[in-house]
Amino acid sequence: MNPRTATMLISAALFVLTLACAAIVFFPYYWMIVSSLEATSLFEWPPRLVPSSITMDAYVRIFTERDVFTWFKNTAFVASTTSIFCTLVAINGGYALSRFRTGSTTAFSIFILFSQLLPATLIVVPLYVIFRQTGLYNSLIGLAIADAAFVLPLATWLMKGFFDRIPVEVEEQAMVDGCTRLGAFYRIVLPLALPGLVVVVAMSFITGWDEFFLARTLISSQSNWVFSVGLTSFETQYAIAWDEMMAAAVVFALPAVLFFLFVQRYLVSGLTSGAVKG
């Protein structure tokens, strides 16, 4: 066998190996979708790897018999509020970190790093008490504020990275033309940073959408449940309706996955550039 055939064989083998790994990685997704569509009982042994026949019944049932609409509405509200609030705050903070080197910005950068060490459980215990005392407990607005605060350090840091890529000369030129510093920022720099802005909006939206732990702790009444909390309520009943649960999981995961795929390239470059420069 000559070396060229050998190289080609190795490449082919590695390609097959890659596809096999991809199949294993994808399997839980496949199983979720198949289980939600399976027409006959899921409680059979051995499990059917390919469904014998397919039905949308479970999807119809979760929308008619469960509170999925309420959960969806609450989650959408919390995620959008988190996203808008977090982005508005992160834009300003990120710009300050990108353009100024003063005591306040250094202190803030150190705090952002430090915040990555804080255990969420230690925060949540007093936060629960504070929320009870201030009336933010069991309110979707309160939950959104808490979610936004938890994403804020990362969002600010990402925003700083996106502003860093825009040359300072852009603002200097605008200021020569008569803009104030703030005017140059909002009217000239911000539109240029639009792709980065979209990433921060999406990232904070996804975090607000997915969030479970704060919602579980800070929300009490069933009418205020978000999707992640509602989803786990299938579990506590006597027999778990796995087809309904998987159907609800698909409905819940879909927006998050789509948003993620939409921004992944930018999000990844923002997240990894810091680590790789090291």
């Binding site: 839980p28 803030f108 060490l117 255990p119 997915d210 479970f212 649960m245 819940f252 998050a256 992944q264």
Partner: protein, 300 residues
């Protein structure tokens, strides 16, 4: 003229403070203030129902903690979980990064499939795996029995010695894309010439991996390993949704113990003391980690 300059100077100094104020307020109220309260609560015997009746008891919570077997169990579980999930996540991430770091047909699609697990909400990942690991109808048991690894289906989440491996499996499935992406970005910074030089010297694939790839990933590894360990020490949602710390406290990390002590046993003061110890561990670990790294680098 001078006044104009002075004004402009002051204006420039104040602007970053104004811009940072909203972020500083939000983070102080939701992150800093509770952390300070939490540390303080650790010195009180507060219970959740009569919050205002809590009394200052000095270091009593910490004394109880030192002789509390559940605390020591949690510490052990936390270290086990941290190292095991970091190791598995890293190995998966590195293996897949090496597979993807070559010219492949359909590279874009394959790469997307590999990062999909990260996109799914943690709660959904947990529910899929609870279903796949089901003792009676779970597909994982089916594969393991068919392949001859198991004689009979196992109750993964009900057995103390199997719950942690199951948790590590879920964690690494959900988290490896982060490692994969960071390592892939790291691999792409290694100059092609170094591989070519190694090949000229007659190094095989394994030797190139040891002498070129691993040293080239060094600075990326430093950050990635720290991120993975800190994340697993702080992880709540996944463990809480999956086992709540059980069975028989086999998956009760310090994070979960803090939460359960506060909300199941209603002892917030004691919970705050446990949480404060966790915070100290995270701080100490990061400091020691960085000092060791800097030290090793200087020696090298």
């Amino acid at each position: 003229m001078r006044r104009v300059f002075a004004r402009r100077f002051r204006h420039l100094e104040l602007l970053p403070i104004w811009l940072l104020t909203p972020a500083a307020i939000v983070m102080s109220v939701i992150l800093i203030w509770p952390i300070a309260q939490g540390i303080l609560l650790g010195f009180f015997n507060t219970r959740i129902l009569n919050y205002n009746a809590g009394r200052y008891i000095g270091l009593a919570n910490y004394e109880v903690l030192l002789s509390d077997p559940f605390f020591w169990n949690s510490l052990k579980v936390t270290v086990y979980y941290g190292i095991a999930s970091m190791g598995c996540t890293y190995v998966l991430g590195l293996s897949f990064a090496l597979l993807l770091n070559r010219s492949l047909p359909l590279r874009g699609i394959v790469r997307t499939i590999f990062i999909l697990p990260w996109a799914v909400p943690e709660v959904v990942a947990v529910l899929i795996f609870i279903w796949m690991l089901d003792a009676q109808y779970g597909v994982v048991n089916y594969f393991l029995v068919e392949a001859g690894f198991l004689d009979a289906p196992a109750a993964w989440l009900a057995q103390a010695d199997l719950a942690m491996p199951a948790l590590v499996l879920i964690t690494s499935w959900h988290q490896f894309p982060l490692a994969l992406l960071i390592l892939l970005a790291g691999l792409q910074t290694i100059p092609r010439e170094e591989y070519e030089a190694a090949m000229v010297d007659g190094a095989g694939a394994f030797s190139r991996f040891i002498h070129v790839t691993l040293p080239g990933l060094r600075s990326v590894n430093v950050i990635l390993i720290l991120i993975l360990i800190l994340n697993s020490f702080r992880r709540v949602t996944m463990i809480y949704a999956m086992t709540g710390g059980g069975p028989a406290r086999a998956t009760e990390t310090l994070s979960i113990l803090t939460y359960n002590t506060a909300f199941t046993y209603q002892k917030i003061g004691y919970a705050a003391a446990i949480g404060t110890v966790l915070l100290l561990i995270l701080l100490m670990f990061s400091l020691v980690y960085f000092f060791t790294i800097i030290h090793v680098r200087r020696d090298a």
